[in-house]
Subunit: 316 residues, 2 copies
DNA sequence: CACAATTAGTTGATTTTGTCAACTAATTTA
DNA sequence: TAAATTAGTTGACAAAATCAACTAATTGTG
């Protein structure tokens, strides 16, 4: 990056900071017309979030004056929002905890915050809202904030191809395999070919492509393609690294298997290589058995191309 | 979107708000250890940014007490940061302007803000930094902030296909044409086919694909494909709606034409439809002439397929 | 056109918010 | 065991923000 580009980029972030400061309405000292100041609410939040924290813990987290904090806490105690539990191992400190009343206040504040957020999102389509969330998660994830791990509940699994999906499937395959196995352009070309070959025969009644998205961002995918005579091929099974370890692979595999059962496929097969170890585990767990392994030079790599097969239990 | 998903999404944004409040260090009332408070700096910034604004303008923009602002401004005037120009048409108001000293203070603050931003980006790769900027722009753009229009200086034009580029080209074509002309999956299939057809013959010495990216996000693209006997085809020329009107199409076209000249192509042609009016303008400006127009039923649409040709000036 | 109503900005009085330094008491270090 | 450190408290005070009463210019209205 040239110095000019870096300066442009920093100016851009500075603008975002100003914009977002405005958006948050952080200049108002009384949050959401409550009787509590921003600082007070931040203390309440800190007590709630870091359970079993002490005054010093809060002081360090929020970087506020010890004397000021002392008074704030005494006030909260007087109002019955916070309760102190003296520490047995240190007579100077106390654990802090929200009372039921304090938690109720928190909940109220969250509600008001939600109102603010809803206003912010007003006039946006569902897709755009997802994009906002997604972009925020990206900022937060990149700036190494805690809690950046996506949750399975936030991942939406849908099927059917919408505009951009075909390209997105290819893009994610190209990027992930380049990053993880140093596959080159030839691999992305291969994926393009598989989709080009599939699309003209795509029959939504017999073929199904599932896309897992998280706030609009493609998180993973899987597909079942009918091959005639009760056979089907499982394709394009991939979970992006950031979304691994949350059970998404399993969820997608379950969708695919459920579809295979309703379609009464007798046999499902798939092709992969010996390098895709994590996926292989999921194949085996789903009942697939490795039936062939042949050395190949594919996409500039020496790999074993492997074939897995699954005999479906014939329901009666 | 189900109510549960909406709640999850709002909770997610709330978390981002808390995270970013923290990130900005907005609880500190003295910005960057200066002798000025956050509010004071926001006033200075507002005077700088909205030139020829009045006290009321600032009061409305920042939503602060009129009396408080009055005192702040008097103080700034006393310190020689701001100057008042009485309004001829209204004896009660004055235009506000930063003095040279006030602008110097602004610049200093920007520098300190830049330091903060650099710290924030510390430890990120160039690509990750671009992603942060990109994601912020997306948030800002979606939440309809002013100044959301990207700048041509922030757009990087590169050539050569990197992992994910092929998929991204297809994805953007699919999405943009679906949004603007209601083309369906068949169009994305067609684009996939064109790339599938091109890739095996791709010769970086004779073919060139340019990608315009803005903080990591694909903004537009163009390609020149050699066809033998001094002929070449211009393909995949597209600017995403958000990046139109900033001269990006022109810049990409110039790159392409310059390449055609160095390659000494005698003739360049392209295929498009009568629906792509904006692009057609750029083709004509670059010297292309429409040579054929045939009615077709393509991708579920009745269109005229048009052919444009450009005879290259033979340099000696 | 005159007079009431409104608007832009100012000023005094006051409250809220945050800071600093001196302090106590418990705990740790030397 | 004494000195140093740490957690938290308190008093004095400064800075930031609010409220209400005010002036002067401008606008609206009968």
């Amino acid at each position: 990056m040239t110095p000019e580009q870096e300066a442009a980029m920093i100016a851009n972030i500075r603008q975002f900071n100003r914009f977002y400061t405005m958006q948050l309405g952080l200049l108002q000292q009384h949050v959401f017309d409550s009787e509590y100041s921003l600082t007070e609410m931040r203390v309440i939040y800190e007590v709630h979030f870091n359970h079993q924290t002490t005054a010093t813990g809060i002081r360090e987290a929020l970087n506020i004056d010890a004397g000021y904090l002392s008074r704030l806490l005494r006030n909260f105690e007087k109002k019955g929002l916070v309760i102190k539990h003296p520490l047995p191992e240190d007579g100077r400190s106390s654990y802090l905890q929200l009372t039921a009343r304090g938690r109720k206040l928190m909940a109220q504040m969250n509600e008001r915050s939600d109102v603010q957020i809803r206003q912010m999102l007003e006039g946006l389509t569902a897709q755009q809202r997802r994009q906002v969330g997604n972009a925020m998660n990206r900022v937060r994830g990149l700036l190494k904030a805690p809690g950046g791990q996506p949750r399975l509940e936030d991942v939406e699994i849908r099927h059917g191809l919408q505009p951009g999906d075909v390209g997105d499937i290819i893009r994610v395959h190209g990027q992930v395999y380049a990053e993880e196995y140093q596959y080159d352009l030839r691999f992305e070309q291969y994926v393009t070919e598989t989709l080009h070959e599939f699309l003209p025969t795509y029959n939504p009644a017999k073929d199904r492509v599932w896309l897992a998205t998280c706030f609009g961002e493609l998180a993973g995918m899987i597909a079942i393609i009918h091959k005639g005579r009760g056979r089907a091929q499982l394709r394009w099974f991939l979970i992006r690294p950031a979304f691994r370890g949350i059970g998404l692979g399993k969820a997608l595999m379950q969708e695919a298997m459920a579809f295979c059962r309703t379609q009464r496929f007798r046999e499902v097969y798939l092709l992969t290589t010996n390098q895709q170890q994590t996926a292989a585990g999921l194949y085996v767990k789903a009942g697939f058995v490795k039936t062939a392994s042949t050395p190949q030079h594919l996409w500039g790599q020496d790999v074993y191309e492997e074939r897995y097969e699954l005999k479906m239990p014939t329901g009666n």
